[in-house]
Amino acid sequence: MASSGIPALDILLADGYPDKSAILIIGPPGIGKEALGYWFTGSGLIQGDFCLYVTRLSVKEVLQDEKGFGVDSQQKVPMWFASEGGQIRCDVNDLAGLSYNIKEVLKQNAGRRIRIVIDAISSLLMLNQPETIYRYLTQLFADVKGYDAVLLATLEEGMHKPEVVAAMQQLFDGVVELRLYEEGLRVLPLLRIRKMRGVPPQPGYFNFAFTRTGMELTSHGK
């Protein structure tokens, strides 16, 4: 299992994300999906795993955002595929190039445990036909699972048609939802493990809050 970097979430996931899996984090913009990627990468770097962060943003922008969540990865940094400041430039218009570069990185780190975070799926879906992205991700997951790797991707809720989101959920081994729910006059951010390979279905919802040391989870309704 690959630790999520968040102890409370690891308990919920029975020790972390499954080996050789692709996990989708889904939620509206600004709810903190990327933070799960930051903690996942941070935990991997501490354990000596090879970590790759694929983003359409610049490295500077991601590091600023990380700091906002209390993650400081100045000491140990992942490999970056980013629009600016990374080892390899991430161009969301170049699917083939992106796939090739990820495969090359996987080959170069074949003997190691690998963690990949992709924060560009929504952009890929907006710029391409959904069917193209389904095929692309299916092939990418097959390549990633050929190694000791766990891939975590984020998807924006509300940006895509419901059928596209449903199809995306089918492609992944695990889906973690971070969503806003209305309760009376309040709006609550809640987390749910929608599905996770090897973990029995969990109907519960959890209130969550980001703290300087990670994420606090409490069962909703208790």
Binding site: P29, G32, A35, R56, S122, S123, L180, V187, P189
Partner: protein, 235 residues
């Protein structure tokens, strides 16, 4: 004549209350959504929408009062003066700025519309300077302070809406553009029509429509699901 004035004043008060109630709920909703979000940019944007709601209430009560009357609204406007109006438009510019920052992230190609990351610094400097200068020479700078956020919003939002690939964001921006356009129309009409109560009534109507547009835009601020659907029995 007096009863006609009373009737107009009554209608105006109803319109003001409609604007206030809708805008207050919209502002509250924006603050509640802000509280539930963790991304700094998105929190700022929700705060911007709350500022826009507050600005709308201010415009409805402080700007619109029956002509020749000595109501509490007039007194409020007199007490608060041009400085507070300038601050209202600073709030509206903050809304434009935060929307532009969020709008960039909803563009799959991350385009910097109108080079906003650089333009905003210049516009903020001008805006702050105008507020300071408004204290000294109210009329000229007050007009400038008004036009800067409204015009920049009117130019920027449609461009952002075209570029965004986000369905929710596009709807939000479309309603927000309409809100800014109606505030512009209302305030623009206010200048020639403010001498008569019926003229002020005409001015109030776009503000009612603006309140509706603002509430619709907040509906698309973030996707909010209904809690009933996640009760254990519903799973």
């Amino acid at each position: 004549m007096a009863s006609s004035l009373d009737f107009s004043a009554g209608v105006l008060l109803i319109l003001q209350l409609v604007v206030a109630v809708v805008a207050a709920y919209t502002g509250y909703r924006a603050v509640v959504i802000r509280k539930a979000l963790y991304g700094k940019l998105y929190r700022n944007h929700a705060l911007g929408v709350a500022f826009a709601s507050a600005a709308l209430i201010w415009l409805a009560f402080a700007n619109l009062a029956p002509a020749g009357s000595n109501t509490s609204s007039v007194t409020l406007a007199n007490i608060l003066g041009p400085v507070s109006l300038a601050l209202v438009f600073i709030g509206l510019f903050y809304t434009v700025d935060s929307t532009a920052m969020v709008g960039r992230f909803s563009d799959p190609l991350l385009r910097d519309t109108f080079h906003w990351s650089r333009t905003r610094k210049v516009l903020w400097a001008i805006n702050i300077s105008c507020v300071v200068l408004t204290i000294l020479t109210p009329i000229f700078f007050l007009l400038f302070t008004f036009f800067l956020p409204i015009v920049s919003g009117l130019l920027l939002f449609p461009a952002l809406a075209r570029r965004t690939g986000d369905l929710a964001s596009r709807r939000h921006l479309a309603w927000f553009s309409a809100f800014y356009a109606l505030v512009f129309v209302s305030t623009f009409l206010f200048l020639p029509l403010s001498t008569s109560t019926s003229g002020i009534l005409v001015t109030a109507l776009p503000l009612v429509a603006a309140a509706y547009c603002l509430s619709r835009s907040t509906r698309w601020l973030a996707p909010v699901n209904r809690l009933q659907s996640i009760r254990p029995g519903a799973l």
